[in-house]
Amino acid sequence: MHLLILIALYTLLSQSLNLSAGFTGLISLAHAGFYGIGAYTTAILSTQFGFSFWLSIPLAMLISGAIAYIVSLIALRTVEDYFVICTLGIQIILFSIMNNWMDLTRGPLGIPGIPSIHLFGLSLDSKISFLTLSLSFVAIVWFVLRNISKSGFGKTLIAISEDEIYSQSIGKDVYFCKIVSFTLSAMFAAIPGALYAHYISYIDPTSFTVNESILILSIVIIGGLGNLAGSFWAGAFLVLLPEALRFVGMPDSVAANMRQIIYGLILVVVMMTGRNGVKELFSKKVTA
């Protein structure tokens, strides 16, 4: 049950990143930062101000989106790998804010005692009900993202990822579209953040490090850029992998490293073969 919830959370995370990384081609390493903003916003609002989940989730999305908007104004002046390095910097800044701003986030001590979610007077503290809730969020987000990708705006984003200068030449506002896509992607990342905070009921900055960002990015890439269903399968794969390793008799400490080694290897192989995700590794030829 715990694993299914994790799969749901990682699906949400990777699908939201897929909007900017997959469709628009903005490979971002700051996603765990926005995930963290979502988690911290709800944690602070619910423990200190007693906000309910339904109020804090839109607020978390707004705050995450606002920060992403400001950040994207700056970061999107750079292109390609400079953009990646820039988002890496942003990720580290966000992390050090979470880790060091003691008054707001209690730093490395984390925020304990986040209440569980109440829905129509019912408390959702059993795992099955929480799973239902997260799955419904997955369904909503998946639906919204699918519609965005099918819409004219989504088509523009794909065009930008394929040829930026050409898209600009036919009158698309590339800079604006990138900002919107980056901001939306960060807003969606706040949802799993808020869910995570309520689910674990305790958060600390170590859940939102650079490594987490890299993990999310590798889910997206393994699943295939611009492939929402692929993100779901890759998320499921990476969550279940440690269990599989434990099943073949590997001790936990080794399994954690083995998992990372395996996904690192997959990442290298996918990139070396130049295909778009594992799914298309053996089928049609796609240039990333």
């Binding site: 292109v79 580290i92 800044i93």
Partner: protein
């Protein structure tokens, strides 16, 4: 005075990282993230040789530099070179090298464990006093070694055939191939030099403080920041970049708080990317910005 000495020490350390990074970046034009693992592996190989085979300390250092250089070269031969024949976009290299970094770093964690290791066998001394400030022997060695390496490398790059070839490949790989300079071979040499410098820095830094399997990553990022700030392709830019990063970090540590050192480094980077995206030197990095 203490701040000044610390700054000098960090400055030389970052300078060599920036140099080792940029020598790979010039001809290949992508961010070799796995470089961080090379830095780390240098230090861990010393630990490995000293503890497993009880080889003497100086010899272990030499062996470790060779071994770490091999790691760097293997990255190039096994992964990047094959990608280059396929003409994949530049971002694919970056992602592949992130994957490589994850693999290498976890191999180190798997073998040595995640806890902090110390390779400096000598007992901790209070350090030498210069003008009322303290500096340890290791730090002095670092400063001297770094400056020597930096000068040597610049001589190589500007006055030997191989060095000139590296710069030639950096400016136009295809034209070099036409003139009979094999760009693959030159890139391999660049990886060799870069990785051995990185291993040296890793060892020095691990001797100064201590090491964990991830310590190379931060060091490398400071190197990248220094390189971007300095502007790619300029020696003076690299000096200025590393100096700026090192001094800001120490001033921030002194006047604000040590915990904000990282954040401030990246704020400088982002400020630079906004106002002076080409760095101090003003040389164009690559392609036109859209």
């Amino acid at each position: 005075m203490q701040i000044f000495l610390n700054t000098i020490f960090t400055f030389t350390l970052y300078l060599i990282i920036a140099v080792s990074y940029s020598i790979i970046y010039y001809p290949t034009k992508f961010f070799h993230i796995a470089h961080a693992a090379v830095i780390t592996s240098g230090a861990y190989f010393v630990f490995f040789f000293v503890n497993e085979f009880s080889i003497s300390f100086p010899l272990s250092i030499a062996l470790a530099i060779v071994a770490a250089t091999l790691v760097g070269i293997l990255c190039e031969v096994l992964v990047y070179r094959r990608m280059r024949t396929k003409k994949v976009p530049i971002l694919a290299y970056l992602i592949a090298s992130i994957g490589l970094y994850i693999v290498l770093q976890n191999c180190i964690s798997l073998y040595f464990g995640d806890d902090t290791k110390i390779i400096n066998t000598k007992e901790v001394t209070i350090g030498n006093q210069i003008f009322g400030a303290y500096i340890t022997t290791i730090q002095i060695t670092t400063v001297l070694v770094s400056i020597a390496l930096f000068i040597a490398l610049n001589l190589i790059l500007h006055f030997t055939v191989k060095g000139k070839s590296i710069r030639a490949v950096a400016s136009n790989p295809e034209l070099c191939n036409i003139y009979g300079i094999s760009s693959n071979k030159i890139i391999l040499i660049a990886f060799g030099i870069g990785s051995s410098l990185a291993a040296t820095v890793g060892i020095l830094s691990a001797m100064d403080t201590n090491m964990t399997p991830t310590f190379g990553f931060n060091l490398m990022l400071y190197g990248i920041v220094a390189m971007i700030i300095g502007g790619v392709g300029s020696t003076r830019g690299l000096i200025a970049g590393s100096l700026l990063v090192a001094s800001t970090q120490h001033l921030a540590a002194y006047y604000i708080d040590t915990k904000w050192m990282d954040a401030i480094t990246y704020i400088i980077l982002i400020l630079f990317l906004i106002w002076k995206p080409l760095g101090f030197s003003g040389k164009r990095l690559k392609k036109v910005e859209v």
